[in-house]
């Protein structure tokens, strides 16, 4: 079964054809980052405009390569969570296509896509596992018992990790999205005399809060202003240390609490070198296996939607009549496969 996946929930237009039988995958990805850079963040209206301009031509290209529309046995799209207008574009395209081809249609949960994306990697984890999802829009720890059996262990009560990186980077005058830039700046020093707080580590739960770190960074900058290159780098370093340690502590706690021996890290912040090192050490000490899917499956893409949707279509799930998108949608509302 060949399933077309369409992802347009935020600022990436992602399309993929996934063959559930052979595991074969063809995909197209267009990132709008350049367009949003000058605004210092994603502008929803511009994101929607880009999706509607890019998705159909990209799809035509993908289908030409795959041998035409006859190659499609089912169509799935990101129903949510995400930006309302952006979601509408992918959902409408999918629906028009499904009607024309008379193929089954299903709306997929974006975060389920992320949770299952590691299954596409060279070295897929087995179930069950704990997933740490760290992106520009999300920070969550999820216990994944099986497809559709998700328990939210903890999430950010305010800014997502990537967002905290980006906002702090912006304060440091770095271009959007500043996460990688901040990490590079931090790497120019090997330690920092500054100490940032580790938010919420001394409380028992698994929730996160990162907006305080950004405020702490701002206060520090104002105190040390005007900043020279060295103090900028030290601020970046201390910020990164605080984030990395906080994530490490919570991941260890999550593994223990859920009684799991596998940790899967997904999302753009998973590219952070110091986070990878810290989690590696933690996992070794815990005797846990650690999985970092290839970067192409970590960030938003169509393949993860095609995969998650294919598994659900194969289990007989379909969209029922009503057409809707779900800008807000909890993972725990999802149902296990029959």
């Amino acid at each position: 079964m060949n399933v077309l996946g369409i992802e347009t929930s935020c600022d990436e237009t992602g399309l993929a054809l996934y063959d559930l039988d052979s595991g074969g995958l063809r995909q197209r990805l267009y990132s709008q980052i350049e367009r949003h850079r000058e605004y210092g963040g994603v502008v929803p209206e511009l994101a929607s405009r880009d999706h509607v301009a890019k998705a159909a031509p990209m799809l035509r290209e993908l289908l030409d390569e795959a041998g035409g529309v006859a190659a499609i046995d089912g169509i799935v799209y990101t129903r949510g969570p995400g930006l309302m207008g952006a979601l509408m574009v992918g959902a409408s395209l999918a629906r028009g296509l499904a009607w024309a081809l008379q193929r089954p249609l299903l709306g997929v949960h974006h975060m389920e896509g992320h949770l299952l994306a590691p299954m596409l990697s060279e070295r897929p984890p087995e179930f069950p596992f704990v997933a740490l999802l760290v992106s520009g829009g999300h920070t969550m720890l999820v216990d994944v018992a099986a497809i559709g059996r998700y328990r939210l262990l903890g999430e950010s009560l305010d800014d997502a990790v990537g967002e905290a990186f980006d906002k702090t980077a912006k304060l440091l005058g770095l271009p959007y999205p500043g996460g990688p830039e901040l990490a590079a700046l931090a790497a120019t020093v090997d330690h920092s005399p500054l100490t940032f707080p580790r938010p919420m580590v001394d409380r028992p739960g698994l929730d996160f809060s990162f907006s305080g770190l950004k405020t702490f960074a701002l206060n520090t900058m104002q105190q040390l202003s005007p900043l020279d290159d060295r103090s900028r780098a030290e601020i970046a370093h201390a910020f990164e240390t605080a984030v990395v340690e906080t994530l490490g502590i919570k991941c260890r706690r999550a593994l223990r609490q859920a009684g799991r021996g596998r940790l899967v890290v997904a999302g753009g912040v998973g590219a952070n070198r110091r986070l990878r090192e810290a989690l590696g050490e933690m996992a070794d000490a815990e005797g846990a296996e650690l999985f970092f899917p290839e970067p192409e499956y970590c960030t938003d893409n169509g393949a993860m939607i095609a995969y998650a949707g294919a598994r659900r279509l194969a289990a007989g799930q379909r969209d029922e009549g009503v057409f809707d998108v779900r800008p807000r949608w909890s993972l725990e509302e999802l149902t296990p496969l029959k």
Binding site: V52, P57, M88, G96, W99
Partner: protein
Amino acid sequence: MLDAVLHEAALTRAELDRVAFANGPGAFTGVRIAAATAQGIALGLQIPLIGVSTLAVLAQQVADSRGLDAVQSMIDARMDEAYVGLYRRDAAGILRLQGEERLLPLDALRCPGAVYCAGSALRALEAAGLPVPEGDADALPDAAALARIAGHLAAQGAGGDEAPINYLRNRVAVRKTPTVY
């Protein structure tokens, strides 16, 4: 709804030759839903796509239902502005744009030669306490008028893989200059 229309027309999907949609201006998300759905249908059926101005569709619909030869379409664009276009019937019966479609402040709207006006901007004018020209504030663009125009265009060979949206309003975001410490 698509199935019901085909059923009523006693047509199958495979008998469709073109798919047309109103490509703006108008509420952004609404226009995109129409555009993306039409793109999906065009791709699936492998038929060309035709985009027609929402203002043209409105003019056609109002002119045909009232037996007029000229209509000025004016759609409320919020923020005290309106999307405006003046249309006149050609020999083939199709309403053709005169000049350009424009995004104008409500208080700059004029009715050339007392032409009949149509569209939601009439209500916006009234709400703003501005003079309201003669016309129909409740008229809405409809799919039948769209199909009449598109059918005519298709007969002249129009249609393609792509049909861009005409937003008219393109100032939708502001650049921020961050404070640097």
